[in-house]
Subunit: 343 residues, 4 copies
Amino acid sequence: MIIVLKPHTSEEEIQQVMEKVRQAGLTPHISTGAERTVIGAIGSDAPSKKEIFEALPMVEKVVLILKEYKLVSRDFKPQDTIVKVGDVEIGGDEVVVMAGPCAVENEKLLIQAALAVKAAGGRILRGGAFKPRTSPYSFQGLGVEGLKLLAKAREETGLPVVTELMDARDIDVVAKYSDMIQIGARNSQNFTLLKEVGMTNKPVLLKRGISGTIKELLMSAEYIRSEGNNQIVLCERGIRTYEDSTRNTFDLSAIPVVKSLSHLPIIADPSHALGKRDYVPAMALAAVAAGAHGLMIEVHVNPAEALCDGPQATYPHVFMELMKTCRRVAEAIGKKMPYVPIS
Amino acid sequence: MIIVLKPHTSEEEIQQVMEKVRQAGLTPHISTGAERTVIGAIGSDAPSKKEIFEALPMVEKVVLILKEYKLVSRDFKPQDTIVKVGDVEIGGDEVVVMAGPCAVENEKLLIQAALAVKAAGGRILRGGAFKPRTSPYSFQGLGVEGLKLLAKAREETGLPVVTELMDARDIDVVAKYSDMIQIGARNSQNFTLLKEVGMTNKPVLLKRGISGTIKELLMSAEYIRSEGNNQIVLCERGIRTYEDSTRNTFDLSAIPVVKSLSHLPIIADPSHALGKRDYVPAMALAAVAAGAHGLMIEVHVNPAEALCDGPQATYPHVFMELMKTCRRVAEAIGKKMPYVPIS
Amino acid sequence: MIIVLKPHTSEEEIQQVMEKVRQAGLTPHISTGAERTVIGAIGSDAPSKKEIFEALPMVEKVVLILKEYKLVSRDFKPQDTIVKVGDVEIGGDEVVVMAGPCAVENEKLLIQAALAVKAAGGRILRGGAFKPRTSPYSFQGLGVEGLKLLAKAREETGLPVVTELMDARDIDVVAKYSDMIQIGARNSQNFTLLKEVGMTNKPVLLKRGISGTIKELLMSAEYIRSEGNNQIVLCERGIRTYEDSTRNTFDLSAIPVVKSLSHLPIIADPSHALGKRDYVPAMALAAVAAGAHGLMIEVHVNPAEALCDGPQATYPHVFMELMKTCRRVAEAIGKKMPYVPIS
Amino acid sequence: MIIVLKPHTSEEEIQQVMEKVRQAGLTPHISTGAERTVIGAIGSDAPSKKEIFEALPMVEKVVLILKEYKLVSRDFKPQDTIVKVGDVEIGGDEVVVMAGPCAVENEKLLIQAALAVKAAGGRILRGGAFKPRTSPYSFQGLGVEGLKLLAKAREETGLPVVTELMDARDIDVVAKYSDMIQIGARNSQNFTLLKEVGMTNKPVLLKRGISGTIKELLMSAEYIRSEGNNQIVLCERGIRTYEDSTRNTFDLSAIPVVKSLSHLPIIADPSHALGKRDYVPAMALAAVAAGAHGLMIEVHVNPAEALCDGPQATYPHVFMELMKTCRRVAEAIGKKMPYVPIS
């Protein structure tokens, strides 16, 4: 940690800061330039002490050298983490596609979507039973009933399921019926929820916040990891910017950045990022080429009747074609995707 | 709601959209321009049906005419809402100042801060018992112990207290010890929490999300209001932008905008928005001049020892001077602030 | 154009707006809902009249149905535009790579870079002679001397050259020595410059503004096109957001969006978007997969000695490998890239 | 400047960086922590050498300690700069209001606006002769004819005039007819233009870029100052964010931030920031309370007929009332505004 003092700081004040560094259990190291005095504060615990020094009146700014996240960093664990959902491995050479409807609506639509996902080579079924909706007047999901339908779809297709948890009080029931627990973008800094899933041994799909930085995404993963759960997959799903021709701005750069900073796998969700189905295929391919460990795509057999996010839902036949092109792109960069089983 | 069709839409497709409008319980109204056909869909329920039409393949875009929030809108209730916290009224002519430490740390520091707040004319004591922290390694608050200290400080000073709720499971204990429940910026779209406080009769202080739009803030208030609770105060606390010389960008324009769109009171929190105590006084005055119904300011007797947000905490003597200038500015625009009692 | 009136607008005021619509040469079309009266104003010229109606006191908001850009829209010209730079065609099936140093520094470095670019299959040489630098104390480019070196490199390699124009007074000399004129991100709304290049018959590479919307990019292209020049290539180069782990946020979604809205080709510049060479290859591949008509990549034989943007410059050997993978990805989505000539 | 090396950097590489620091004319200062080696590079010229080190493969990041701007910084000149426009002083105790129409349209409207501005206590007349418009089909200003009308209005009212320069080729004629040259938001990083006005001795009004950082604003001022012109007034006019209920987000925090970093005066333009006249008064008052040295406000006698920005133009009678309240707020914080002369 580098502590930059204001110009004209007195010798006495410098000593006060040095003393404060020592009190914090760090080793001070002074460097005097022509215009600023700078104090290095050395120690692996430095990041958590930053505010102490920012609060001092003679301090101009404090710059961290070490990262605030530890357990999820590549510094801490250089090898890629592989997360296992059912028998599907995320984080290795295979590009894993999770797909399905935004919300679980009824058994028939869910099974149809699940079969379409499987037929095209999707490996995990997604579907929301608890839905975070901006408006209290929108469909809020089927709740536990939806979870049971997901379990039924798994039985029918063999695909493991991922679904969102919104309320810590539902964690047991969500864990019971699903194979992977999703923390949605709006809950990316719901620390209560992060701690709860951290105390389970279920794989977690952690979405980046709507305006979350990559660092915050890793700090949220650190919350989960620090409770003991190391089965975490990160997900880029678009961030909020001024550009309004897409629902969010799909920050695919997060993929190489996360891969350099962390050992955790990262997938991408073009459906939520773009918000319009016409733009999903191009950006799904881009995500694969950027090196994503997987994709999450919304597929609905009849988007015009969807109770949630119909405009971004991909038609099954488009999804099928997209999966074929995804595989070619994956192979072009040295990765794999499953060959579509003959149905 | 205005449904704009893609160019070259066939007559048959137009009829399909018209029929869909009728099925949604709305009245269609067609308008044919040279380059686009536009269908108006009339009905007070239109906003909640938007996605149905966006999902149709022949639709280019859908534009809402009516707002998605209702109960909190000025269209619905033209008169200003007054929220009562203890015997303090927010939403009228008085500029109400809530102040205190970021986190409750111990009894002595809290009482000292509370007395300083009261001496300067602050009307409500703030202090966090449950703290949302970006890092799992930071101080997470004293929890219930902190709530009890807040209640003690209220006893000592007569100031009602506001404190943050982070976990729906804590709502009873938070409601028991506090006079106003705060929903923090990171939980601004935690719909679980919004519904819970909506079911109480406690006043709620709802902070704007870190990258929340004004519309989303009002939608979150609608969540609370639609459950029955109409004691809601909104709070502008800075939004995330690319500018990094302040912690967030203090969007004071939200004050006149919210006042034109909603009947709910709105206050401003310069401490969290700016993140540096030196900038707080200028922006607190700006918020009063912009017409805020109140301010929330972090005050700490010894910021260098604060366990949370020390860099933005205002010193008591600075706060005292600021309050005097605030009163002059309030009077300049025809509002009131309490005269500081002789201590 | 849809004109939404405020609630409680009187019949007389409605008639005033109707009359104003007629005066503007548009056809009014009234639609009365339960809570709002809406007036459609029909005519292909409507977008340019928007402000007239927004300025009226009884108007709540105005929504455009037609786009403000015309000549560059796909509505106006459905077929893709092919732009020819020397004998290189941009906008067709080939992914065209432009590469070279940020700035022209001296003959030796430029020729080395140009040969490396050519050897790897790059089709156009880039290099700045006039450099827009944030600091007046940074290297500002070699000026006309740099242009002459670019012409020399073209002679040596056969690659056409693209270089930036910053000052309208330099247009003749820039046009003389180069094959394509670049308008940089900071000049994306320098309307003086846009009009000037619009009056030439040189191909123009128009970069998206640092915080430009896609619509603004197309409006800037419209400026050029409306002066007569239809040889325009657009370029996504990253936009400014709150995320700071990359220099800008690379908005690759602009590629499918622009392709749906406009007939103009669009390329992508990962070097400027990312700002760090390590992230460039992944994002170059992503841009190709997203459907970009080309790439612009900074290549320098010795980045540590570069006078400008060294941190983002790609090493020649990395560029060579990247080009091979790019070709595989291009082929995976049905596009072409030149086979690297045996050197 | 602090150079942070990647983990596991070899001793040899460390020596290479040390040597490079010396070659750059700086003094190296090494500090070895448990997880990172950090090299301080001391010298007042360090900021301009940043990229050299960022380009090195063994460097993780480089952090500047000193600012990149010098002449405009408060470190360089602690006392406030006073800028004189005609006999009006900007930068002292008086809050100076510049007002007038967006564009000069004709003599009658301009004189009417100028008289209204003067009657209310405005000190400088604004009006655009050259207009940067997003669309090539919008009114582009009267050009030199407009400049002559501004000079006429000055004669009539005694108010000095400020007007925008868009093209370096117009600098002589703009300087001839006006008292202060405005550099607009879209040209905030048009370095060609900045250098040109830097070589005149005319006062310059430099607007913050549409997505400009405060640092970039000061760097642009440094461009002007480094050419010799020290008569610079900065202007906050709203920045681009995701919030769309106002045209831009009015970043009033820029006022205290700029005042702490620089000796130059800063004013605020609520008309462009908000984009809607109803919100202008509240935010004009907020700007005064925040400590702005002045305001720029668009006033039009008939906004519904304005050729440019009618929606944000303030009516003369509203402006008159606003000026009275501004004066009360100015006095509340210890500043002055002129008493309106009896007309």
